[in-house]
Symmetry: C2
Subunit: 239 residues, 2 copies
DNA sequence: GCAAAAGTGTTACTACTACACCCATGG
DNA sequence: CCATGGGTGTAGTAGTAACACTTTTGC
């Protein structure tokens, strides 16, 4: 098993697949591209592409993210490796091993084709069904991971613009988790966690057109949330 | 980026690397193999090998686990995908992308060469330094992941034999985390979590030669631990 | 008896839950 | 004025931390 022979095994292709999430109109959206060729021609799929010989999977994912979203600067965006999908039959043509990533975007630029001709579109998560390859599963895994990470990390700010209200931050949780949170308790929890958010002095903004203007905050420097912000136990869990 | 051409890119080799943990004498140990050839000849490395054309990375990892440990049945052992390492220069000879896994073994069978000739040895985690390739980093990542998963899953029972005492289970936490836990509180926490452990009626065992015989338990059916069993905040964390 | 490990009890405190309530703004 | 969303207060409770204490074994 230790003999490295470049030709001892059938070559593998290595790709990256991206689950790019954003929140639009109170619903979780994911970026999909329409496939132009077989297999799965005409079907929607997660954006992605080959890892080039001179780059890591992380570099490839960030490059693809820029190409697909059309954003000029993707260096600050949160990009997280999920896991690698390697079942032998997952691509009918050849052996393709895919490293999956999740990305979180604050504001949704209208999707466009990017550098290649493929059509790209923001799709509500619940409508993203019957994707090409095993992308249904990758997408579901990505959402699970993002939801879990909201509990014990400060990841939620990655969905928000540089300045945001606590109501917008709470909407991130409610949208990803699909549950309502108690507003006063959420506020206290966030403010009691040092480094989660920092206030923008004096700034305020109206959110829904009505109501009291809300104070603005920026993302803090902390990365983990301790103690965690546990989602309400839906029912299936013990305790 | 969507043109699948098997020869458009330099071929990648795909391997698995395994961080196999066990607990021996109150210390966390990891299984290492000695490399017989360049590069890194004579250095210690994590066990692993190529993914074959007809198997997934998970299958390859379980196959390698059986070969390296000499265990006849590895089907029930906990095996968890960590992440994939794909930096271009991580193997000096060719482009190797490696999917890393962590495995947890209850009792430590004396290591032996396994099916191939390489020497294998259980090494205390703290002595596993200067490994081949980027295995230092993989090993550190594996330990971090296992430590984190002890907090919110029932994974700790994977380190224990089929019947174990609560003292042994507590030692798992203390060994992996490197901190002491309050014995009475740990006991209550574990027993208060439905499905974590189930009592073996009437059974008892002496643990340290002295002391009161401890009741025996088996691993339960629950997988997640809710609420989590948080490790004592070392200092670096907020709150 | 003494040391060691298992097991039980108790108190104080943290953190969260579920509300009621007030404030500021647009219509 | 009312509806809407932001912000504050507070009592009850679940869960944890930090002990003291008893029990059962080997030496």
């Amino acid at each position: 098993m230790d003999g490295y022979d470049k030709y001892a095994f059938e070559p593998f292709a290595v790709t990256v697949d991206l689950a790019v999430f954003t929140i639009r109109g109170g619903a979780l959206h994911v970026l999909l591209v329409e496939r132009g060729q077989e297999p799965y021609a005409g079907r929607w799929a997660l954006p992605g592409g080959f890892v080039r010989p001179d780059e890591s999977a992380e570099s490839a994912a960030r490059r693809e993210l820029g190409e697909e979203t059309g954003l000029t600067d993707v260096s600050g965006l949160h990009l997280e490796q999920l896991r690698t999908y390697s079942e032998p039959g997952r691509d009918p043509r050849m052996r393709v091993v895919s490293v999956a990533f999740a990305a979180l975007l604050p504001h949704a630029p209208e999707a466009h084709g990017g550098s290649d001709a493929a059509q790209a579109r923001w799709t509500p998560y619940d409508c993203a069904r019957e994707l090409a390859f095993d992308h249904d599963r990758i997408l579901a895994d990505a959402r699970d991971r993002v939801g879990a990470k909201l509990e014990y990390t400060c990841l939620a700010t990655a969905f928000c613009p540089s300045e945001f209200t606590l109501g917008e931050l709470r909407q991130v949780y409610e949208t990803v988790w699909g549950t309502a949170l108690d507003r006063p308790n959420f506020r206290r929890k966030v403010l009691a966690t040092p480094g989660f958010v920092e206030a923008v002095p004096g700034a305020a903004r109206l959110t829904g057109g009505r109501g009291k203007p809300a104070a603005l905050y920026r993302a803090g420097t902390a990365a983990i949330l301790h103690p965690p912000l546990l989602r309400p136990t839906p029912e299936g869990r013990p305790a």
